[in-house]
């Protein structure tokens, strides 16, 4: 099982040899079987050695898009190309992020709303020529140029072999389990690391879309890791809204207002759940209270606490 090392590896370089990857893998107790880190592919040979990029050199590979990856705790990227008759026909990018939550977050940035989801890693999807998936703190992107009659099956199998070599659990971030289960739109879950809703003071947002009474709504849980940080976000949002909108605080402490930049979404209701902040756009107070109770109960049952 491969586990890229922590910390020290961030000092590494561009274009180091794949031997470095092997070295790391061996240091972590992994065998070199089946070609080392990247799987072998029948009929194809690897083009040169894998290239590694770190947070300082990622811009050289994906240019300005690197900013988004860095916002999601990017640590390192390994790129391996495969060739046939001298032409590159398959490319595999393995991005390693700070943790599973951030890998999920960047995966969601490029995931389509609709797609052929496949059973690879924690979640993946296939589009013609493409398989992307995430597992643990890895986000993997595979691009195939070959004409294959059974492309999907072949890519899924290859992705599965690579996924098996990546350490980490196959599971979504725990916070998503706390969001209300009913009416949730499948594959709509996402994690926004920063600037949630375009506000600098909102971050660490777990979001999902719901179909409530025929209307699409958005539910989010701001889960920064401790109650104080959550409360700080709630207070910042409240302070932002005051003066721009009528802010109402209920007897139970629920705050509601219309965010002026999201007026067409209706009233936003927020509740401090002592560890996370629940927010829902465009639902009435009773619906919100019911959802709040469901999430609160789920949080209390979560062990270890969120």
């Amino acid at each position: 099982m491969i586990s890229w090392s922590e910390g020290g590896m961030s000092r590494i370089f561009v274009f180091v040899s794949v031997g470095a990857i092997f070295g790391l893998a061996m240091a972590c107790g992994m065998s070199e079987g089946d070609g080392g880190f990247f799987p072998t592919v029948d009929g194809l040979s690897t083009r040169g050695e894998a290239e590694l990029y770190d947070s300082e050199t990622l811009f050289e590979y994906i240019n300005g898009a690197a900013e988004s990856y860095l916002a999601y705790g990017f640590e390192e990227l390994a790129v391996q190309s495969y060739e046939e008759d001298g032409e590159v026909v398959l490319a595999v990018d393995v991005y390693r992020h700070r943790d599973g939550v951030h890998a999920f977050g960047i995966y969601c940035q490029e995931r389509p709303d609709e797609g052929q989801f496949v059973d690879v890693g924690t979640e993946g999807y296939y589009q013609s020529g493409v398989i992307n998936f995430f597992k643990g703190r890895y986000y993997v992107k595979m691009l195939n140029y070959r004409q294959l009659d059974d492309e999907r099956d072949e890519l899924v199998a290859l992705a599965g072999r690579l996924a098996a070599r990546l350490d980490g659990e196959t599971g979504f971030p725990r916070a998503l389990d706390l969001l209300p289960q009913s009416d949730r739109i499948p594959h709509s879950e996402r994690y926004i690391a920063r600037d949630f809703l375009g506000h600098e003071f909102l971050h660490s947002a777990f979001v999902a879309d719901y179909l409530i009474n025929g209307a699409r709504s958005q539910v989010f849980l701001l889960a920064p890791g401790n109650a104080a940080a959550g409360r700080e976000m709630l207070n910042a949002y409240k302070a932002y809204a005051e003066g721009k909108s009528e802010v109402v605080t209920s007897a139970e402490g629920t705050i509601s207002f219309v965010d002026p930049y999201y007026r067409s979404n209706g009233t936003l209701r927020l509740a401090d759940l002592d560890g996370a902040v629940l927010g829902i756009f465009g639902v009435d107070a009773d619906t919100f209270d019911s959802a709040t109770e469901e999430v609160r109960t789920a949080m209390e049952a979560t062990d270890p606490p969120l």
């Binding site: 860095l70 032409e87 020529g129 140029y145 600037d195 375009g198 002026p260 930049y261």
Partner: protein, 405 residues
């Protein structure tokens, strides 16, 4: 049609059919104008985009890293006119998001620019052209047509040949021919080229081509070979090309740890201080940043204080060792050079001599072996004279604390 382009079509069709909008912003059907922002301000400074006939506010929006349609809508509602995206951004989702924002707006009310590469690689950028399969003219055109579908528009105002790094890239015959065909078809209004590296060479090639009407170039106060680039930009503008600046934030942060942000307004004003820069496309992801950009649109003059701050910070940043560790295996005396360089920064950058002394003495190396090393074998990627800096800062280890307060 070749077998290869058949395949591309299939892939593009499927990718293009995906709706994909639920990012940081709102769900489809919920997008509305941002009622909170004021109407466009008459004080917004406008410049002509070369001879294109387009007149644009000084600040446009680089949409690449934005995933919030309400932010894009707010930008348009508050006076920003041009949105800049690309075929590859977020695997097409970026164009789709822009399309959702603009589809119900008057087509005369905004300018949209997108970019297409001459390769078929379906990744945002790839530096190694060996990995890229060449587009045919037909498949290039189909790629642009897919962008139009995503954007819900019949035409884009500017199509850039994306990320050219050399004269050869910019004068790619296939791409030039395809873009001219698209222009004749009315699917693009103006032909442009974008460049992140070797910008002066690419801009000169754009002039040479007689085809390009707009250049989009990386340009900021930290740009290498700035004078050469500025001469090329000035020449391009004088010849009637539109000149658009990107990467004006110069990396956003001063430091590797990303704790010290570069002042956005000052950096943007710096890039706009020359008349031959017609507009800039800073990326922003928050409403606060939008408001800052709106201020710059009306008050673009770089203040003396801002200029001084950028200059000071840039010099200071030059003192920063980026702690890349390249030197660690190079020193025959096995010195922890990154630590020494940090001490140097404390001493000369922060003027914090006590901290510098702590760092130096913390090494526990006494007299540095550098003094007796005949020639330093360390090759620093930042071109630091490591031996000179090490000896300079090492002196502080012997100075009594009383002299350092």
């Amino acid at each position: 049609m070749t077998e290869h382009s058949d395949r591309k079509n299939r892939r593009q069709f499927i990718v293009g059919g995906l709706s994909g909008l639920a990012l940081a912003g709102l769900a489809p059907g919920r997008l509305g104008a941002a009622e909170a922002v004021p109407n466009p301000d008459p004080d917004i400074v406008i410049r002509k985009l070369g001879a294109t006939g387009l007149e644009l506010p000084l600040v446009s929006m680089g949409v690449m890293n934005a995933d919030n349609p309400n932010l894009v809508a707010a930008a348009l509602d508050s006076g920003i006119k041009m949105l800049d995206t690309a075929h590859y951004y977020q695997r097409g989702r970026n164009e789709e998001m822009v399309g959702e924002v603009i589809k119900d707006r008057s087509r005369d009310g905004f300018v949209v620019a997108t970019k297409a590469r001459a390769s078929t690689v379906d990744r945002s950028e790839v530096q190694d052209s060996n990995k890229a399969t060449r587009e045919s003219e037909e498949s290039f055109i189909q790629k642009v047509e897919l962008s139009l579908e995503r954007l819900h528009t019949d035409y884009v105002d500017i199509l850039y040949l994306h990320s050219c790094k050399s004269r050869e890239d910019a004068l790619d015959e296939m791409a030039l021919s395809a873009m001219q065909t698209l222009k004749k078809q009315g699917k693009i209004r103006h032909i442009g080229v974008s460049t992140h590296s070797n910008q002066a060479e690419v801009i000169e090639a754009a002039l040479e081509s007689g085809v390009y009407e707009v250049v989009l170039t990386a340009y900021n106060f930290k740009t290498a070979n700035r004078e050469e680039l500025e001469r090329a930009m000035e020449r391009a503008a004088a010849k009637g090309l539109g000149v658009v600046a990107m990467k004006t934030q110069a990396g956003v942060f001063w430091d590797k740890e990303r704790t010290q942000p570069i002042p956005m307004k000052a950096a943007l004003r710096w890039a706009l201080r020359q008349d031959y820069v017609h507009t800039a496309i800073p990326g922003f992801t928050t409403f606060n940043q939008l408001e800052d950009d709106l201020l710059v649109m009306k008050e673009p003059t770089l203040t003396t204080e801002e200029a001084a701050s950028l200059e000071t910070q840039e010099k200071l940043a030059g003192l920063y060792c980026q702690q890349c560790g390249t030197c660690l295996d190079q020193c025959p005396a096995d010195l922890d050079i990154p630590v020494l360089m940090r001490g140097y920064m404390y001493a000369h950058g922060y003027r914090n001599l006590l901290s510098a002394k702590d760092v130096v003495n913390g090494l526990g190396r006494g007299d540095l072996p550098c003094a007796t090393c005949e020639s330093c074998s360390v090759n620093c990627p930042q071109d630091f004279d490591v031996r000179e800096r090490a000896l300079d800062v090492a002196r502080i280890g012997q100075v009594p604390d009383d002299f350092l307060v």
